[in-house]
């Protein structure tokens, strides 16, 4: 297969675009397309300060790399989850994020969950008994809380995450299967800022996961290849596999699923509920917005953990 631009041997073939590119032209194409999506969805400008959530994985490190190449002011945020599972998962992720930041002379903020909240994610999950025996729910809640706190406290205009199209299509698939109207209404490349909530953007939302892997490999970005030990058997991976089967039989199926959804949402398919109970209130502890008066979900979880620990220590 030949590169469409130069006729040399292609390294990447994107069947959904009927486009094959060599290494050199692929590494040009990805940042160009990212810039196009940033502008199309009005994510941010070159004057704004961006906080990139960096996990040490291929997507977030590639996103950081691309934004810097495009000349944006992008700092990183690494959240140490304290997941070991016999493979030093968090330690290795941290090392790779740190290494990338050092090599490119970039600023990386680090929040260690155990240091800040007393316990690593698996223990917080176990003690709080959220998430049916898996720490993913507590992990998601904690990451959302910390990302928003750091973005707000350190004065960033926007929080960027490395979600790719497969991530988005899998979430969309799940929310469609359960017709979760509220979630469908909020899903998109940009979640605008609200009182106490930073603007969230997903500049890679139109790239396939395979394309981001190709970008990281061709660019020589060292990322954590091992899967999070707790992700094994997860619903999101199951949905991704189903969607890849569809894509294999019908190239472009994933992209069409996501893009037609965005168009449908834009044209008003999902209406905002006119419900006065949906107003947000500041959490009485941390000040972040929450749907019910009092503590937010995160602070309730931390309070529950602290209560249980004090009961144990008083025994």
């Amino acid at each position: 297969m030949k590169c469409r631009k130069c006729g040399e041997k292609a390294s990447v073939n994107m069947r959904q675009h009927k486009l094959a590119l060599c290494k050199e032209h692929y590494l040009e194409w990805v940042p160009e397309q990212t810039e196009r999506f940033i502008e199309k969805y009005e994510m941010f400008s070159h004057d704004e300060k961006i906080l990139v959530a960096v996990s040490g994985g291929k997507d977030s490190l590639s996103l950081w790399d691309i934004l810097i190449r495009l000349g944006y002011q992008a700092d990183g945020l690494y959240i140490g989850l304290g997941i070991d599972a016999g493979i030093n998962y968090s330690g290795e992720s941290h090392r790779l994020a740190d290494e990338f930041a050092n090599e490119h002379n970039l600023k990386l903020h680090v929040v260690d969950i155990e240091k800040e909240y007393g316990q690593p994610i698996p223990v917080l999950s176990e003690i709080s008994r959220r998430g049916h025996g898996k720490p993913c729910a507590v992990c998601g809640l904690t990451k959302r809380h910390v990302m928003n706190r750091i973005a707000r406290d350190l004065g960033y205009d926007v929080l960027a995450t490395g979600h790719n199209l497969d991530d988005e299509a899998a979430v969309l698939f799940g929310n469609t299967l359960s017709w979760s109207g509220d979630y469908l209404l909020r899903q998109g490349p940009v979640l605008p800022s609200a009182d106490g909530l930073a603007r969230k953007v997903k500049p890679l939302c139109r790239f396939y996961e395979r394309e981001m892997t190709a970008y990281a490999l061709l660019r020589g970005i060292e990322y954590i290849y091992e899967e999070c030990p707790f992700a094994e058997g997860s619903t999101s991976i199951y949905y991704k596999e189903i969607l890849n089967q569809l894509e294999n039989d019908r190239p472009g199926a994933k992209l069409t699923f996501y893009l037609r959804f965005l168009e449908a949402r834009q044209s008003g398919l999902f209406a905002e509920r006119n419900d006065s109970t949906l107003h947000l209130h500041p959490c009485t502890n941390c000040g972040q917005p929450t749907s019910a008066p009092g503590l937010c979900s995160f602070c309730r979880m931390i309070e529950k953990v602290a209560d249980k620990e004090s009961i144990v220590s008083n025994l």
């Binding site: 297969m1 292609a10 390294s11 990447v12 073939n13 094959a20 290494k23 994985g57 291929k58 997507d59 993913c136 992990c139 497969d166 991530d167 899998a170 996961e209 395979r210 981001m212 892997t213 190709a214 490999l217 061709l218 290849y225 899967e227 999070c228 707790f230 992700a231 997860s234 999101s236 991976i237 991704k240 596999e241 890849n244 089967q245 894509e247 294999n248």
Partner: protein
């Protein structure tokens, strides 16, 4: 295991290894071992290769899983 005198193509995906006959395309080889092309990137000697690549005697192809999640 390769039979004596017959060279095979080795495909490695995480901790699994598959062997296929040389002379097939990467796409046919992946179909043979039931790996979805959408879910991997194939490299040989550190270079990415595409589905139309003919695999030769003794090739070792590393399949890099692309799906992550949680």
């Amino acid at each position: 295991m390769a039979r004596q005198g017959v060279s095979l193509v080795k495909l490695i995906l995480r901790n699994k290894e598959f062997e296929v006959k040389p002379g097939m395309t990467l796409l046919s080889s992946l179909q043979k071992v039931n790996v979805l092309p959408e879910s991997i990137i194939a490299t040989r000697n550190g270079e990415m290769i595409l589905e139309d690549e003919i695999l030769k005697d003794g090739d070792v192809v590393k399949l890099i899983a692309v799906i992550s999640g949680g």
